[in-house]
Structure formats: structure tokens, C-alpha cells
């Protein structure tokens, strides 16, 4: 039996995958021990189905060709045969048992999340991911970097269209990485096919999964649970680096974070804040409130001429920094730096003809955050 399965598996690798590799016909075997085990299960059950299908459909086709009235076939009058009926109940049952054993073994391995080298908390937001390296002072957001122009067909689409992000998750090769999944708003699902890791990120709950990646490289995935308007636009990119490169990246990332917080103590001019604000607005706010500040009527409120954007700056800062409970408005406290928050609020108060004229400084934000 094993030999048959193996030769079938071999045949499957030789024929369909080789011939249609470019067309992406099959599940990729991936780059981890688990993903390879999952791929083997997938191919085994697939060939079992093919074998049963060939058997059943050949008998059916044989009957359609030979037992047709136009060929003068006379109907026989047999029905009910206890032996046959027992056989076609019992044989499938044992095939299923044979399939259930390796599937359960793989499942047990997938569930052993203990003894991890690195813990990373992954939080789903509408529509971006947040990665927190537990125990390291490192925490960042990762969102789609494909330009809107490519999505709207005014620019040619790049090679990794919709599968590229601004800040990829970086992990070291050969280390057991444990992921802790949760979400900020609705349910998301973190999926990287090459690792065979797919786990729902559920608000208020923590899920676990793990991976050990054996080959350095860049691996791409997408959110797999419908999470609202831009569900199709929140990809996942994981860069797997050699240990030394990973340590270097870790040091660089922490240094960059320090630089960003230093920027808050500098003096910023209105022009500088407006320029930076527009940039931040377009990446963080425009998906809902739209680039023209008008929102989507009935779904996301507009900011152009809105009471908050034209009113007291303290209230405006509060809603952006702390969000609005029970709505899609997130708290941007941790997502944006003090400078970015100051810039984007200043921008919202002075763009699209809002022209309030006041300026929010990074110092004000720092005060609000405390």
C-alpha cells in the first residue's frame, strides 16, 4: 500500500507539477517540515480520490456506452445484494481510517507550540498587520505598499502586485518562531502558504501557531478571513534571514525607532507638518475617509467640513489617538509616532478647504499619549 502511494506521489510530481508549474495548478510544498507533511497528505488524499473516481466513473461510462437502449441492451432485473452493499460500506471506511492516522499525526505536530526560540505577537487591524517581538523592544505595523494607481489601472502592475508591504515581518532561519494571534477589530486570518500556517486572529482571544523555516527567502501570504472593505488588500510578507543578518536587522530596526522618537523633540513648521501629514493621511486614513476627505456616505464619515476637524483641537487629537469605541475608527496611539500624529491631524484641519489655520505639535501629542 505504501509503495503504491509513493509511486503515485512520484507520478504526481513528475507529471502535473512539472508541466504546469507556471500555471500554479497545485498547492506549493512549502519550506517547512510541516508544510511538506501537509503537502504529502494533500497528495495522498488527492490520489485516493482519483483512484476511486476512475473506478466509479469507468463503470458508469461503461454502462452508458454498452448498456444503452439504442444498442439493444435489455434491462436486467437485479437489485439488492447484501455482500456488495457491505463491501462498499466497509472498504471506504478502512480507506478513511488509513487516511485519518497520518492526518492526526501531522495535526499533533502542528499543535506543539512549546519551546519556541522567538515569540511574535501578530495583531490584525482593518487592514494591516501589527508585529510585536515579545521581549525585544520592537513593535511595528505592516501594510500594503502597492500604489493605488496600480490598483486603479492607471499604472502598470508590478511583479508582486498586492503581495508587497512597507515593513515585512523578519524572522531568523532554523529557529522555532511562535506566533500569538489576536485582532483589534474584526476577525482576520494570518496565512503564509509556504509555512502551512493559517490561524484566525480573533479580537479578545489569543491563538497560537509556530514555524521553523529552513530556507532564507521572502515568503508572501494574504489575510484569509473576510474582514471588511479592504480584505483583499492586507498582504503578509515574511523575510527569513540568516541568524547574523537577523541580529543586524533587529539592531537597525531599534535604532530607527529611536530616531523617530527623537524627531518629536525637534521644531516642525506648518509646511513640514502639512507635507508629512498628507503622506501619512494617504497611507493610514485614506482607505476609509478617502483621499479627498469626503469618506464613503453611510459607511465612513467624511472629514471635509466635519465638526471634529473644524472644532476644538483637543477633541480632534482625542479621537485620532484613542479611536472611537464601537466603530471602525481605530486608536492610532501605537500605530503612528508623535510626529506622524501631529502631522496628520494638522493636515486634516487644513486640507480640502477646512483651513482652520491651527497647527498641532508633536509635543501636544506626546502630552495626550501620557
Amino acid at each position: 500500500m505504501r509503495a503504491i502511494i509513493h509511486s503515485l506521489l512520484l507520478a504526481s510530481w513528475l507529471f502535473p507539477c512539472a508541466a504546469f508549474a507556471d500555471w500554479g495548478l497545485n498547492m506549493p510544498p512549502g519550506v517547512t517540515e510541516i508544510s511538506q507533511a501537509v503537502f504529502d497528505l494533500h497528495m495522498t488524499i488527492f490520489w485516493i480520490c482519483v483512484a476511486i473516481g476512475v473506478l466509479v466513473f469507468s463503470i458508469m461510462l461503461w454502462s452508458i456506452i454498452h448498456h444503452r437502449k439504442s444498442r439493444g441492451a435489455k434491462a436486467h432485473n437485479f437489485h439488492e445484494n447484501t455482500l456488495v452493499e457491505i463491501l462498499w460500506t466497509v472498504i471506504p471506511f478502512f480507506i478513511l481510517v488509513g487516511m485519518a492516522v497520518p492526518a492526526t499525526a501531522t495535526l499533533v505536530k502542528m499543535y506543539s507550540t512549546s519551546d519556541a526560540d522567538i515569540d511574535i505577537k501578530v495583531t490584525g487591524y482593518q487592514w494591516k498587520w501589527r508585529y510585536e517581538y515579545l521581549g525585544e523592544d520592537l513593535d511595528f505595523f505592516s501594510s500594503l505598499s502597492t500604489p493605488r494607481e496600480q490598483i486603479n489601472n492607471s499604472e502598470e502592475k508590478s511583479e508582486n502586485y498586492l503581495l508587497e508591504v512597507d515593513n515585512p515581518l523578519v524572522i531568523p532561519v532554523g529557529k522555532k518562531v511562535r506566533f500569538l494571534f489576536t485582532a483589534n477589530d474584526v476577525i482576520h486570518s494570518w496565512w503564509v502558504p509556504a509555512f502551512a500556517v493559517k490561524k484566525d486572529a480573533i479580537p479578545g482571544f489569543i491563538n497560537e501557531s509556530w514555524t521553523v523555516v529552513n530556507e532564507p527567502g521572502i515568503y508572501r501570504g494574504q489575510c484569509a478571513e473576510l474582514c471588511g472593505k479592504d480584505h483583499g488588500f492586507m498582504p503578509i510578507v515574511v523575510e527569513v534571514k540568516a541568524e547574523a543578518d537577523y541580529q543586524q536587522w533587529l539592531a537597525d530596526a531599534k535604532a530607527a525607532k529611536q530616531t523617530a522618537s527623537d524627531a518629536a523633540t525637534q521644531d516642525w513648521s506648518m509646511e513640514q507638518l502639512m507635507a508629512k501629514g498628507e503622506q501619512v493621511y494617504n497611507t493610514a486614513c485614506a482607505v476609509c475617509h478617502q483621499a479627498n476627505g469626503e469618506g464613503l456616505p453611510g459607511v465612513f464619515p467624511g472629514l471635509k467640513g466635519s465638526a471634529i476637524a473644524l472644532g476644538d483641537p483637543a477633541a480632534h487629537i482625542d479621537v485620532v489617538v484613542n479611536g472611537k469605541a464601537g466603530t471602525a475608527m481605530q486608536a492610532f496611539r501605537d500605530q503612528l509616532s508623535a510626529v506622524e500624529l501631529a502631522a496628520v491631524i494638522t493636515y486634516e484641519r487644513n486640507a480640502w478647504g477646512n483651513n482652520v489655520g491651527d497647527m498641532v505639535t508633536p509635543a501636544q501629542i506626546a502630552a495626550e499619549k501620557q
Binding site: 495548478l25 501537509v38 466509479v56 458508469m60 452508458i64 448498456h67 499543535y111 476577525i187 483583499g232
Partner: protein, 527 residues
């Protein structure tokens, strides 16, 4: 006593009332059956237009025709309309027409309730479709409406959606009660349970499933309503609730629901194959037991839709095993159909073509279902186009083909005229080719990693998406041919004999064609 007898006799000579009031006030199972079938076809075209909008947007990468929020409204409404508006009412329509005629009953047991359960539906769907024109748009959270996307983050129209689902549920429960009451009480003398035609058996079991799970659906939408408007936190973790609870309750309804949409299909196909193979069904008793086993299993497999929510290992293993078990009784059914064809004397009229396509394509859908049951592999398949391919294979060439097979099979009995066999074959082949071009490539893009419910996709999925879209338009427009064939058949054509087909089994073939307005006023004797 004499007056009662008199009034009953007077009623027998009543034909249908004239004008529109006939349709509003009718308690006749044939009229109500026809209304169900026409309503279902209208919804089939409506939901189909939404599917074509989805496929048109997905023809190429990039956003061309519709924006993501509207795309989500289309996937949601397409699913809800096809499940609750097209497939379920079509089966109820066939049940209304055929069950009394198959068991030798004069009508359904509860005719006035029958009228009401139909007339709720147009209002429920008018309300549901009206949400498309509301501020914030129609429901956009998928037909599975997972919380909290469908509660805290839902558009305001969600309340109308909840009310519409309640109305559909009331209609379905009343329909199910009526069918059970009819089958258990109005069988002709001699029509014992183990002589019931399989269509009647499968519907009896389906009706029990409906009564068991429609209240669960009503419960889950009521909990949503409470969360949205009355400050409860069933599904809100911040208030001590659990978003995963929603999924458990929903799928406790949802999994039996998918069998509600396939068991009557098994029944129809089990009627048609013996007729055109000219050979009795291989294993009648085992078919009945297999149907009952599938119905039982449907209650203990629900969480296989939720392998990625982070259930404990024991839960995963239990739901994986119980789901794999479904393959056994389903296999028994497929083997029985094939054994019925074997050494028969087959002809291939349109109903038989649809039934044969059903057996092959439903089995393919069953195979991908078995693959999805393997929990570790499901981590890769879950929420991809592989799942979309799977459930469209069991629902379109599964449930929908069986409905079409049934429509062609009984159309001559309903209208008294034969449909055009040549056009019927055209309709079949266009549908068959269209359905496979649409849904087969979805297996590939799903395995290659395309998530479902996305309005735009990475470039490597472009070729198969374009092919699928072409297939969808072929399939969609072929259904207009079906409409033409049916209208033509109603208006005229070769006269059908009472038997219609060559020596078919069943009481429905003993009444005249077209079936008179009242049949079996005197119960037949079944030997």
C-alpha cells in the same frame, strides 16, 4: 354529515379562481408549487446577475467595474439569495407539486398555511433586496455573516437583513411542518413508509432537518440584533462575549442547511435514473438508511468549517473524523446510482443527462469535500478558492442540476406538453460546459493560494480567473434558454401521454397529463 359531504363535493368541481385572486388566495398545492418554482427562478436570475457582476470584476486584476465595498455586498447577497431564495424554494416547489401526487393525497395537509409560507417569501426578499438602496449599502459581511463584522462593524441595513432572515425562517419551518404532516398522515392506503418514493423520503428527512435548525438560525440573528441594538455582548469579547460562539451557532445551523439543499436532490436523481435506465433502483432500503445517516452526521460535523479558529486538538480530531465518516453513506448513494445504471437499458433524454451530470459532478464536489475534511490540509484550503470550487460543485451541478432534471422530468406532467428535446439538450450541454469552465479552474487558483471574497488578486491568478469568468457568462446566459423552453412548453407542444416516459414508476404517472387541478380526491389503492 350530508352537508359536509355536499360541500366537499361542491369543492371538487371548483376549478381555479379567475384573475390575480387565484394566486393570492389559492390553497391548491399545484398553484403554490408553481408559484414557488417561478419565485425561485426569478431569484436564481437575480442572484445570477450578482454572480456575473462578481465574475466581471474578477475577469482581470485591478479594480475596473465595482469598488471593494460593493463587491462585498454582491458576494453576500449572491450567497443569501441563491441559498434562501433560489435553491430552497425550488425544492419546496417541487415538494408541493409532487409529494401529494406521489403518495396519493388530494393536497397538502395544511393548505392555508401552505399559502402563507409561500407569500411570506416575496416580502422577505423584497426587504432584503431593498437594502441595496439604503445608506451604507446592503449587508457586506459575507453570507456567513461572522460577528463582529456583522454586528459592531456592520452597515445600518443589517437590521433589515435580520428581519428578512426571520421571515424566511418562519416560511421554511411552516413549509417543513406541512410536508411532514402530509407525508405522515395523507398517504394512500397501502402506501407504507418503505414504499414511499425516494423523493418523498429524502424530503421527509430534510423537513426534520429544517425544523431542527431554522430556529437556531433565528436564534443567532436574534443574538446579533441584541448585540447591535440592546447592548448585549454575545459576540463582543470586550463585554465578555465570544466571536467564535457566533461561528459555532451559525454552523450548527449551517451544516445541516447544506444537506437541506442536497438531500432532496438525491431524491430527484433517485427517481430519474431508474426511469431512464429502465431498471429499478439497486438498493432502495440502503438509500433510505444512507440518507438518514447523512442527516444524523450533519449535526455533529459543524466545526469542520472552523478548523482555523484555534479549537483544542481534541476538537479538531473529533470534527475531522466525523466529517470523514460522511463519505461512507454518500459513497453508498453514488455506488447505488451506478449499480442502477449497470446492465440497464439507458436512454438519454434531458432529465437523464442532468441526472448523470449530477452524479459525476456532485461526486467531484464530494471528493474535494473529503480533502477539506483532512484538518491539516484544510489549513491550506480554508477560505481559498478551493472551498469556492468545492461548494459550487455540490450546489450548482449538484443541487441546481437536480432541480433542472426534476423540472424537465415532471414538466410534461405539469403542462400536458412535451418540452423541446433538442432545445433541452442544448440547454444541458451549454450548462454542463459552462459550469465546468467556471468552477474547475477555481480548484487550481485555490490550491495556488488565492483567498476567497477578494475583489482584486495577484497577477499569478489572472489566467484562471479570466477563464472562470468566461464560463460564468456561458452558464448564466444559457439559463435564459431554460426560461424559453419552459414557456414554450407551457404554451404548446406535442401532447404528453399520462405515463410521459416509458413505464416509469410512481403514482404521479397514473393521473392525466396535464395533472387535473384536483388529483386523488378518491385515494388510490397501492398494492
Amino acid at each position: 354529515m350530508t352537508t359536509l359531504k355536499h360541500s366537499v363535493e361542491a369543492e371538487h368541481h371548483h376549478g381555479p379562481a379567475k384573475g390575480l385572486s387565484r394566486w393570492f388566495y389559492t390553497t391548491n398545492h399545484k398553484d403554490i408549487g408553481s408559484m414557488y418554482l417561478w419565485f425561485s427562478f426569478a431569484m436564481f436570475l437575480t442572484g445570477g446577475c450578482m454572480a456575473l457582476m462578481i465574475r466581471a470584476e474578477l475577469f482581470q486584476p485591478g479594480l475596473q467595474l465595482i469598488q471593494p465595498d460593493f463587491f462585498n455586498q454582491m458576494t453576500t447577497m449572491h450567497g443569501l439569495i441563491m441559498v434562501f431564495g433560489a435553491v430552497m424554494p425550488a425544492f419546496v416547489g417541487l415538494a408541493n407539486w409532487m409529494i401529494p401526487m406521489m403518495i396519493g393525497a388530494p393536497d397538502m395537509a395544511l393548505p392555508r398555511m401552505n399559502n402563507w409560507s409561500f407569500w411570506i417569501l416575496p416580502f422577505a426578499f423584497a426587504m432584503m433586496l431593498s437594502t441595496l438602496f439604503m445608506a451604507g449599502g446592503a449587508p457586506n459581511f459575507g453570507w456567513t455573516f461572522y460577528a463582529p463584522l456583522s454586528t459592531t462593524y456592520a452597515p445600518p441595513s443589517v437590521t433589515f437583513f435580520i428581519f428578512a432572515v426571520h421571515m424566511m425562517g418562519i416560511s421554511s419551518i411552516m413549509g417543513a411542518i406541512n410536508i411532514i404532516a402530509t407525508i405522515l398522515n395523507l398517504r394512500a392506503p397501502g402506501m407504507t413508509m418503505m414504499k414511499l418514493p425516494l423523493f418523498v423520503w429524502t424530503w421527509l428527512i430534510t423537513a426534520f432537518l429544517l425544523i431542527a435548525v431554522m430556529p437556531v438560525l433565528a436564534g443567532v440573528v436574534t443574538m446579533m440584533l441584541m448585540d447591535i441594538h440592546f447592548g448585549t455582548s454575545f459576540f463582543n469579547a470586550a463585554g465578555g462575549g465570544d466571536p467564535v460562539l457566533f461561528q459555532h451557532v451559525f454552523w450548527f445551523f449551517g451544516h445541516p442547511e447544506v444537506y437541506i439543499m442536497i438531500l432532496p436532490a438525491f431524491g430527484i436523481v433517485s427517481e430519474i435514473i431508474p426511469t431512464f435506465a429502465r431498471k429499478r433502483l439497486f438498493g432502495y432500503a440502503s438509500m433510505v438508511y444512507a440518507t438518514a445517516s447523512i442527516a444524523f452526521l450533519s449535526f455533529i460535523v459543524w466545526a469542520h468549517h472552523m478548523f482555523t479558529v484555534g479549537m483544542p486538538l481534541v476538537g479538531e480530531v473529533f470534527f475531522m473524523f466525523s466529517t470523514m465518516l460522511i463519505a461512507v453513506p454518500t459513497g453508498v448513494k453514488v455506488f447505488n446510482w451506478v449499480a442502477t445504471m449497470f446492465r440497464g437499458s439507458m436512454t438519454f433524454e434531458t432529465p437523464m443527462l442532468f441526472a448523470l451530470a449530477f452524479v459525476v459532478l456532485f461526486t467531484i464536489g464530494g471528493f474535494s469535500g473529503l480533502m477539506l475534511a483532512i484538518a491539516p490540509a484544510d489549513f491550506q484550503y480554508h477560505d481559498t478558492y478551493f472551498v469556492v470550487a468545492h461548494f459550487h460543485y455540490v450546489l450548482v451541478p449538484g443541487a441546481v442540476f437536480s432541480i433542472m432534471a426534476g423540472a424537465y422530468y415532471w414538466l410534461p406532467k405539469w403542462t400536458g406538453n412535451m418540452y423541446s428535446e433538442a432545445l433541452g439538450k442544448w440547454h444541458f450541454w451549454l450548462s454542463f460546459v459552462g459550469v465546468n469552465i467556471t468552477f474547475f479552474p477555481m480548484h487550481f487558483i485555490g490550491l495556488a493560494g488565492m483567498p476567497r471574497r477578494i475583489p482584486d488578486y495577484a497577477l499569478q491568478f489572472a489566467d484562471f480567473n479570466a477563464i472562470a469568468s468566461v464560463g460564468a457568462f456561458i452558464f448564466g446566459f444559457s439559463q435564459l434558454l431554460f426560461l424559453y423552453i419552459v414557456i414554450r412548453c407551457i404554451r404548446g407542444g406535442d401532447k404528453a401521454t399520462d405515463e410521459v416516459w416509458e413505464d416509469p414508476e410512481g403514482l404521479e404517472w397514473t393521473v392525466a397529463s396535464p395533472a387535473p387541478y384536483h388529483t386523488f380526491s378518491e385515494p388510490p389503492l397501492v398494492k
